[in-house]
Symmetry: C2
């Protein structure tokens, strides 16, 4: 099954951009009258009939709509510090999209070596992985912000009822951490946020702030995982526990 | 913590090859008398004192040995069909090593587009990921063989008592599959094998043969995962359930 992405859809018509139109018409040789499957990127898949096979601006009429198609029964935000090597972070974006994530937030920690991050490539990778893994909702790639700003913009602990906020960090000798599986099993919240630190870990100040804001410190098992591996293992833990 | 790999160790002395010696002596500027940590690649970590800082053939004397260091309480084989894009398979090798795998077997399916696979690069990636993730045992990278040969060389179903063999495949409409989490929860076996098919899935003949040989058909959740993602999600499921 091949999916196309419509940048513009009113629920009755879908318009493909030049990349998608070219792939649909030039590469896959679809013609007017062919049935194609189109996602709106916001959670709905449309079964469509191609009405204009212009290889730069194809259009299709909606035959049937499937809202929530390929979705998962939770809302997952992964806030992760971009890695020094950009490929590694992009790999995380692809894999988290495949297993299921709703929002990816590149956060810059006090110990991050990479202090800037451009989101345009990540968005394209997320779009491609969304189509490849048969989902209709493209994860949001948020603009980067500091770890502290990310923490402070979430609600303070006493207001958190329906959400579960987890911070994975490495401080050795720390005994208060539970495993991510335990944290997931102990909560029924479906709004889940996971915060993953940079190669140099969070600063003690960042970790303290997170805990003040209701984040539960968790570990991801006995292995020392790279930043991007930790982010994917965390998303996979949610997928396996709640998917 | 920095680990070096000794290609030769008798339990009292460790010898580093030219790559490791160069990294130890030239890059990290260790000198005779420095304490370093060395793995033998077979499961033991040695606390050592550098006795020869030759940047092409460094040697160290063992102060203390830690057998089973960084190990996990199961033995996991992942047999996975190499992907068309070699980077994707190598990414699986790295990530599976980080979360913990003992043997990686590149298997060639009837529907595999890639029919040959060279293991030398995968071995180097596994070595690097072993050191990075603080383990002492480098996973074995087996020589490639066909899916059918791999299945037939394992024991027939009636002899399988202490091992759990799982095959993840996609045949739509198949109702006999359980989730990998259920399969892991239902068994106490610590010797676990997971078989992951190529982009085009296993042939019905391969799937039938696997089931005859005691493989349990499992699914990896609702998402359609790429081959290499499926392999990492499966290894992660074992890590989270048994690690």
């Amino acid at each position: 099954m091949e999916l196309f992405y419509a940048y513009d859809s009113d629920g009755r018509h879908c318009r493909l951009d030049s990349d998608e139109s070219g792939h649909c018409v030039r590469v896959l040789r679809h013609r007017v009258g062919d049935e194609i499957h189109v996602i709106d990127g916001c959670g709905t898949m449309f079964r469509c009939r191609l009405t204009d096979d212009n290889p730069k601006s194809a259009e299709a009429g909606v035959l049937e709509a499937f809202p929530g198609w390929g979705g998962h029964p939770y809302r997952l935000t992964v806030a992760c510090c971009p890695t020094k090597n950009n490929d590694r972070f992009e790999w995380f974006v692809e894999k988290a999209t495949e297993v299921g994530v709703d929002r990816i937030v590149p956060v810059i920690g006090e110990r991050s070596e990479r202090k800037v991050y451009k989101t345009d490539r990540a968005y394209r990778i997320a779009l491609s992985a969304t189509k490849q893994s048969l989902k209709a909702r493209i994860p949001e790639i948020a603009e980067p912000l500091s770890v502290k700003d990310f923490i402070c913009r979430s609600e303070p602990a006493e207001q958190v009822k329906e959400s579960l906020k987890l911070i994975a960090y490495c401080f050795e000798g720390d005994t208060r951490r539970i495993s991510i599986q335990e944290a997931l099993a102990a909560s029924t919240a479906t709004d889940i946020t996971i915060l993953i630190g940079p190669e140099g870990d969070f600063s003690p100040e960042e970790a303290r702030l997170a805990i003040e804001h209701g984040y539960i410190p968790v570990h991801l098992g006995a292995s020392r995982l790279r930043t991007e591996t930790a982010a994917v293992v965390a998303a996979t833990a949610v997928y396996l526990a709640r998917g």
